[in-house]
Amino acid sequence: MEVSVENLTKSYGFQKAVDNISFKVDTGEIVGFLGPNGAGKTTTMKIITCFMGCNEGDVKIGGISVQANPEEVKRHIGYLPETNPLYKEMPVIDYLQFVAEIQNVPKPKIRGRIFEIVSTCGLKAEKYKKIGELSKGFQQRVGLAQALIHDPEVLILDEPTSGLDPNQIVEIRELIKKIGREKTVILSSHILAEVEATCDRIIIINKGILVADGTASSLRKQAQDKEIVKVTIEDGPNEEIYRSLQALETVELVDLLPHYTQAFEVQSKAGMNSRKAIFKLCVEKGWSLTEMTPVERKLEEVFRDLTITN
């Protein structure tokens, strides 16, 4: 079931929280929703889950509009809100029973489904405890369990791993990946490594505007059109190597790397490639080229570039 967000706009007073955002997520895709605080991630998610209305545009889930038929749409969505609100006074199992009933899980299947979900989310030992007595990590699992109980086709997870310990984070990531094979998953996060590890695609929004949409590697490429290589050249005087590198036709900029003795960072001119030229230069001069590695930009830098500008 695909989710398509079409020209979505939502303002609070004069401030636009979401400004004309459009994107599409297909079945079997896990999409990471990135952006600094207050970028409009949560607002977008709240509109997709029918908690909020929007001013313009529409969201369609499997072709059904959230405005025209919210009750039909809500059936297919599992939602874990950012604050993970839960009825603290209820025991875990009663709460899951309540959610299963309200989500139209057929009566005879409810018990089996609860049993299944309790073991997938690692809540077996805690199922009779009151939710309020559980630690934050376990409460997060209960939140995830209630989102999954009716086996939804679309999962909207607002920071699903917040408050979990590193082991749990890995488990939950694996769980999301497993689920994501057949379903449509949109998750938001601040942790870039997490998004890179779990998501097939990344959408970055800033100040309500969509600034990037693509796979992690395509985003890197998009932000970096100039090739950068790190080279280490030995058996020659530093200064001469530096000057010769700078003199190459394809090279735009050479940096002597600190903390290394004879390592340089060579940036080529846009669209050009200087690796061959560097190699030939070393052969001509009789220097030894001991290292040449392409420098990949980190996703953090891409993120910063896209969201800090202006």
Partner: protein, 241 residues
């Protein structure tokens, strides 16, 4: 219908889990029992086999207890954010509101059922007007429903339970007392209007054993107005514009 019942069930259960229900029942039975049997113009003083004194006292105890039951219904969910989960489930606002309304109403029903021993006892002491008792109970149920509806509305406008409680009492006191007081001290069409708006007028006529479609219409309009107000506040909250 099924969805409404699921919400009602959960809500009723949380009344009992949080001890709210027990406190309410014990206090209500204590107050009404004390004034019906032991103190003031109790049954032995009046010397009649009727439950008039019980209905008179319940009129006031319920007025105070109902806002305490309803104050958390929506305010608490809005404060903790659980309302977000509820709204994003496949239920409509009306189902949520009706479910919560029914839960509070059922709690009052349970409480009133527990006062049936009063009736049985009095019926054994002397000759009791059975239809008057029935009407009296009906009057109490209608009155409770009206105040639950008002309480649910005030609970929807705030995140704070105490504010919801005080607002419900504030709105309630007009229907309960002020309209009839002003009405009796003034004259003309204004007095008639206020007299009609006063809840006491309608309740008393029912408690005396008279049933009139005007009274029922009056209670139903308050209930409906309260629920409609709640729905409007809720739909504005999550901005479905």
């Amino acid at each position: 219908m099924n969805k409404i019942w699921i919400i009602t069930k959960r809500e009723l259960r949380s009344f009992f889990d949080s001890l709210m229900a027990y406190v309410m029942i014990v206090l209500f039975l204590g107050f009404s029992g004390f004034f019906t049997w032991i103190f003031g113009s109790d049954i032995f003083l009046v010397g009649q086999a009727s439950l008039q004194s019980f209905f008179g006292i319940s009129y006031w105890t319920l007025f105070f207890f109902i806002p305490a039951i309803t104050m958390g219904l929506l305010a608490e969910e809005q404060k903790s954010g659980t309302i977000e989960l509820l709204i994003t489930k496949p239920v409509s606002d009306w189902q949520i509101i009706t479910g919560k309304f029914l839960a509070a109403f059922l709690l009052i029903c349970i409480t009133l059922v527990l006062t049936l021993p009063y009736y049985i006892t009095v019926a054994n002491i002397g000759k009791i007007d059975h239809s008057a008792v029935l009407m009296g109970y009906l009057g109490l149920l209608f009155m409770s429903a009206a105040y639950i509806s008002i309480g649910l509305f005030t609970s929807s406008i705030t995140n704070n339970q105490i504010v919801a409680l005080l607002a419900a009492l504030f709105i309630g006191i007009f229907f309960h007392l002020i309209f009839s007081l002003v009405s009796s001290s003034s004259g003309g069409w204004f007095a008639n209007l206020l007299g009609y708006l006063s809840l006491g007028t309608h309740y008393e006529s029912m408690a005396r054993g008279v049933i009139d479609s005007k009274d029922i219409l009056y209670f139903l309009s308050i209930i409906f107005a309260g629920l409609l107000g709640t729905e409007l506040v809720m739909s504005r909250r999550h901005g479905s514009t």
